[in-house]
Amino acid sequence: MNMRKILCLLGAFLLVPSTFFLVSAHAQQAMPPDILVKNVTTEVVELIAKDKEIRSGNRAKLIEVIDAKVLPHFNFASMTALAMGQNWKSATPEQRKHLIDAFRTLLVRTYASALAAYSEQKFDFRPLRAKPTDTDVTVQVRVLQAGAQPVPIDYSMEKTAAGWKVYDVVVGGVSLVVNYRTEFANVVRNSGIDGLIRDLQAKNRTLEQKK
């Protein structure tokens, strides 16, 4: 009886580390999307709270943080393709590259402003409603504000070989990708895909100068 217990314990000790390694290797590859969103949001909000320079308005430093912590979890190629709609098909690989670059820069700047404005709010991370086999899920977060209806933020995420990636952000029912679709289509109709690239780059330059 005693011997059996000891063997069991021994087995357990041997088993625990190996499962631990398995789990952590697995976590690297595909951390569940809702946990990923929660961890990244919490980490970034804490970083901002601790950083005096960012809090006093150092936008460049905030963008550095976003670049390092948030960007790896976004699929900008997907986002750009969705925002371009049909016009994506007629874009050359060169144009696509420029579009993705310019759109990414614009989104990061917008995201930085939103984060600077709202990072002191409380977040409510909703449990994920999805099957384990799903490869396309919506992760729901709500920003709680005193005396007002909470603002829902939905992250549309897809499973890729490199883990879960965000391909759309829906704030208060407004999809970022859908919102850019008409704008992009209008510019492309009037001045072509190169015109859109020029417009996006010009927009980014103006924002850069304004700091």
Partner: protein
């Protein structure tokens, strides 16, 4: 006030046939020409008068005071948010709205403290425009109202009714009513200062960006955050049946 509304709406309707939309017509926005004109009028008013006033207001008053002001107006609105929930058949939500009003008006000192939220009774977002939408009314053409901004034909009707039944316009003496209106306007604009500067950054064409965001937002609100999935849109023909 009612008269002003009626004349604004008829003005809008009158211009409707003449407002040409330019070469990039969007089926949801047949009155783009007129809308852009009202938009630039609103924009001028906003940058010369509303934004400077709201910025001053924000800088002068501590955030705690501003949030009391927001709570006060928000509390009054809960009465008709409840009415609209009941009209949409959402009885539990309606009762919650009225419970919020009861608690906040009493324990919360005329609504300046949102004690109901602390008790876990959540604030809702409803108005007559959403109720009409829930009842099956389509949005109608996009419409920009003077001073009030983005709307649609349906939502403008809803807003007219919202204002018609709202307690605030009934307040007397007139001087007090006007001061309350002024405070409400400046406070609301101040709440939106951050959001409007983000919008300015994000958009290539603010008019288009704001219009699309408004239409998406209203559709989401009508279905309380979970609208039925739309079929994938094709660029040149945006879905004209958007609610």
């Amino acid at each position: 006030m009612r008269f002003v509304w009626v004349s604004l709406l008829s003005l809008a309707a009158g211009c409707a046939t003449t407002g040409a939309g330019g070469d990039m017509r969007d089926p949801r926005d047949p009155w783009e020409g007129m809308n852009r004109a009202v938009y630039s009028f609103n924009d001028g008013f906003d940058s010369v008068i509303a934004t400077p006033l709201a910025t001053l207001y924000r800088d002068l008053l501590h955030v705690e005071i501003r949030s009391r002001v927001s709570n006060f107006f928000s509390n009054i609105q809960d009465i008709f948010i409840g009415v609209n929930n009941v009209l949409q058949g959402k009885f539990q939500e309606g009762v919650e709205d009225w419970a919020r009003f009861a608690f906040n008006s009493t324990i919360g000192l005329f609504g300046i403290h949102d004690v109901a939220s602390d008790m876990g009774i959540e604030k809702h977002n409803e108005d007559f425009g959403q109720t009409f939408g829930r009842w099956g009314a389509g949005s109608g053409p996009y419409l920009i109202l003077p001073f009030l901004g983005s709307s649609t034909l349906r939502d403008a009707g809803g807003t007219a009714l919202d204002l018609y039944v709202a307690p605030l316009p009934q307040v007397r003496p007139i001087a007090l009513r006007n001061s309350l209106f002024g405070l409400y306007f400046v406070n609301t604009r101040a709440e939106l200062l951050e959001a409007s500067s983000i919008l300015e950054q994000a958009a290539l064409d603010r008019y288009v960006f704001q219009r699309d965001a408004y239409l998406q937002r209203r559709r989401s609100l009508i279905y309380d955050g979970s609208p039925p999935r739309e079929r994938e849109q094709v660029n040149d023909t945006p879905d004209s049946s958007v609610k």
